[in-house]
Symmetry: C2
Subunit: 499 residues, 2 copies
């Protein structure tokens, strides 16, 4: 047993029912997006909110909080036990900081805001969404106040999504990326090293056939479908872990441009692998599950971009593609590689390639910081958005729907969330760097289908720990440093500029 | 609003989280039998037991029990409010009666017993199961003692599955049926009115094709797949309601003898219809959901046997069958009708036709009564089983697996459960009788595909009430009488003897 302290064992025992509520909510969430009949939504919403309030009550029970307080005063806890105290203290602190009236208002406003956003986007009318965004900005400022911060109110919000992340980290990372990505991008553009678009983007496929391909590719990667995993269909792809032994991913089939479903499947596979490789000894404890959105996104981006969009991977899956998609025969693996790696500055974040993606995040993070600091109003946002878009990517939205209204996240109140996407890109490149430094030949592992070599390395360095260490400490222990943007730049240069 | 009393409204408010836990457990149960990856079972088992203990704790919370007590003293409650008090008092009474050590032991013994039963059945070795059955008999006696009874310890057990049912009801019903069914069966057999078997039982089908047929038949019946319902696949067919707006059924495809999957689908449809037609005003309250296993089985048996196995229904679905199963063209609707209605005394309950089915129940109920009364030992059971089988059905098991070891139920501790199957057959025939008396032309409704006429009648008489009335009161209000075996006999005579 990795847990030795009696008090910690008591905490784990008591926590198990809270874990069970989390398990149930995970299943409800998965089901709501995959198999639930339409009209089930009303009763499901009631059940979800009831169980989420119940879980909060159980965590904040005085006896439980007291046990955690007591445990935090013990000096000779081992790393896992310390992890449990850290995670529970953080959860209790956040839950205690937010008054229940605030949570009720926040929930009400965001629910209305999501509807307003949907309508606004459809009608291309920012004014429908603006009053809600104003309220959400106000609520986010309040939220930052409740949670507390030292240097910048945005600190409190980013920390919610990425434990320990600070505005200064975000600033440092994004300003470095801004300069370097623009340099790389200009070079790719001017030298026409990678195509802007590819005719395969216009070719239609049969969803049934693509599902077969996705499953074959997942099998190649060792994804244990049926045993410990599933692949289903949902409007927005996601990964949901019910525990260490049941991790489910989804994808969608748009019927056109097959790389979209294939890459989204590999992306979610990366998330799932993290959850599947957590040490089983952590099962049902507070430190099971991936530690943060940024570290999680690092795993998905690694498999999607560094593996999935590599020349070697295209070679490996080429027979599967050719066997199932009749149009593939006209394209060489080299051509498929360029289809997988088109680079073009575009308006829509979710369609961005790995070179330009972080510029979309930069724009959002800058605006969020200004909003939370009270330096801009909802009124100013569309113009600022459009100007920054032009400055960063050289393109300008023709309307609100492809500009400020493109993302659902702000309407959901998720302010401070976007930077974790960029962290993911950094962590992926950082893992790549350290793998190579430790003489893991990634290209060779892919070429020979020995994905196990990569998986084992990720398991030992990152996955198996679950939430044992906070993200920055996890990175320090694995790599001797925290988030470092240099490796991402280096990766872009090596992939896109060295020919 | 149908709930007016302030105290009742408070109870409903507090109950909602208990409902939510039930919703979560319903979803977990459905998922475990349909989509869950194999190895998810360990963590799922933990989650289920955690949430079930939690729900029990919340129901037995002194504040909640006190509210229910208080409400029970109010005199001018309306029927719905009275229903809420009745259901909660019953739940609290049962939960309080069983000590937690007993529940723990019961759960441990039955878990081991299920494994032993499986092994015993596979190896055809009663001795493997016997010591567990002995323990289960002892535990059932204990259970009856905790729950309390007036005339016979079996009362306490049957009441668990069918509120208000007593041993004397079971005795009366089964002794009537025994005599009458034997008479009808002898006549069918001697006059060879219905075939013993049919060659279609040997014909194989493609599961994909049968799934399409099942869905078309369900569509004909108005089953709202996608909107409020689902049809999935599971090893043992079942119905699971997540609430009034999300009711899911399953079936299985054995690849041979297509009436089995078709009839099981229609059977589960009957269960689902009940849940779907409950008054939406009862949603998330203690009186939502079907009231008892017997009443529930009445709905499923009605649709499976009285509708599904009728001449008119065969006519209606014949085009669907012929279009999808190439072998159907060789058989007339009349022949399909006889294929749906073979009658033969057989050894296996789950394969029994509607004529002989209740004799299998009679045998089990008799043995259960003797067990619980301490009048027989596990040692005596196989011989008793075989002798009764011969007496009732004229067939004798050649081994344990097709005799005493055929059902899983005793290993699960479900003693007192079997009689609800017979109640279902009675209730189905009873509904038929009263429909006809109220000038509902069932045959005509089926022939013209106006299933809505039957559904509406069932909704008004039975379905919409949920658990508002206890089973016997529900029947009295609907039909002016309780369970009555006469209509079932009459139905058998009309169907099988009038030619």
């Amino acid at each position: 047993m990795i847990f030795e302290n009696e008090l910690i064992k008591q905490i784990i025992e008591k926590y198990r029912v809270i874990w069970a509520l989390g398990h149930a909510r995970a299943l409800m969430s998965w089901d709501s997006q995959t198999y639930m009949p339409e009209e089930g939504v009303r009763e499901r919403a009631i059940a979800r909110s009831m169980l989420s309030v119940l879980a909060q009550k159980l965590i904040l029970k005085p006896e439980f909080v007291e046990l955690v307080d007591k445990a935090s005063q013990i000096e000779d806890l081992n790393i896992y036990e310390k992890g449990i105290v850290r995670v529970l203290q953080r959860t209790i602190r956040i839950m205690k900081a937010l008054p229940s009236e605030f949570i009720a208002e926040y929930s009400k406003v965001t629910q209305e805001a999501m509807l307003a956003w949907k309508q606004a986007k459809e009608k291309n009318d920012y004014n429908i969404f603006k009053p809600y965004l104003e309220k959400i900005i106000e609520l986010s400022k309040k939220q930052a106040g409740y949670l507390g911060w030292e240097e910048h109110p945005y600190d409190a919000l980013v920390d919610l999504y990425e434990e320990g992340l600070r505005t200064r980290d975000v600033d440092y990372i994004l300003s470095r990326l801004k300069k370097e990505i623009k340099r790389v991008l200009d070079k790719i553009m001017s030298e026409k090293l990678y195509p802007l678009k590819h005719e395969l983007e216009e070719i239609r496929y049969d969803p049934k056939v693509m599902e077969k391909i996705n499953k074959e590719v997942l099998k190649l990667l060792g994804f244990p479908i049926g045993k410990r995993a599933r692949l289903d269909i949902s409007p927005h792809p996601f990964t949901q872990s019910m525990g260490i032994f049941d991790v489910r991913i989804t994808t969608r089939y748009e019927g056109i441009d097959f790389k979209r479903t294939l890459m989204s499947t590999i992306h979610e596979y990366g998330h799932a692998l993290y959850e599947l490789q957590i040490d089983p000894a952590l099962s049902t404890t507070p430190i099971t599950g991936g530690v943060s959105l940024g570290i999680h996104e690092g795993q998905s981006r690694f498999w999607e971009n560094i593996v999935g969009r590599s020349r070697e991977f295209v070679e490996v899956i080429y027979p599967i593609l050719r066997e199932n998609l009749e149009f593939i025969v006209k394209y060489s693996p080299e051509e498929i590689y360029y289809y997988f790696n088109t680079v073009r500055p575009s308006l829509i974040r979710t369609e961005a390639d790995e070179v330009t993606y972080n510029l979309h995040i930069l724009l959002r993070a800058e605006l969020e910081k200004l909003m939370v600091a009270g330096e801009i109003k909802a009124d100013d946002l569309p113009e600022l958005w459009n100007n920054m878009m032009e400055e960063l990517l050289g393109v300008k939205p023709r309307n609100y729907s492809e500009g400020i209204l493109q993302d659902i996240h702000w309407s959901m109140g998720n302010i401070g969330y976007f930077p974790t996407y960029t962290l993911g890109n950094l962590v992926a490149a950082q893992m790549r760097h350290h793998m190579l430094r430790e003489s893991i030949n990634i290209s060779e592992a892919i070429r020979t289908k020995q994905f196990k070599i990569i998986q084992e390395w990720q398991k030992e360095k990152i996955h198996k720990w679950g939430k044992t260490f906070a993200p920055k400490e996890l990175l320090r222990r694995a790599f001797g440093e925290e988030y470092n943007p240099d490796y991402f730049i280096k990766y872009l240069e090596e992939k896109y500029l060295k020919h």
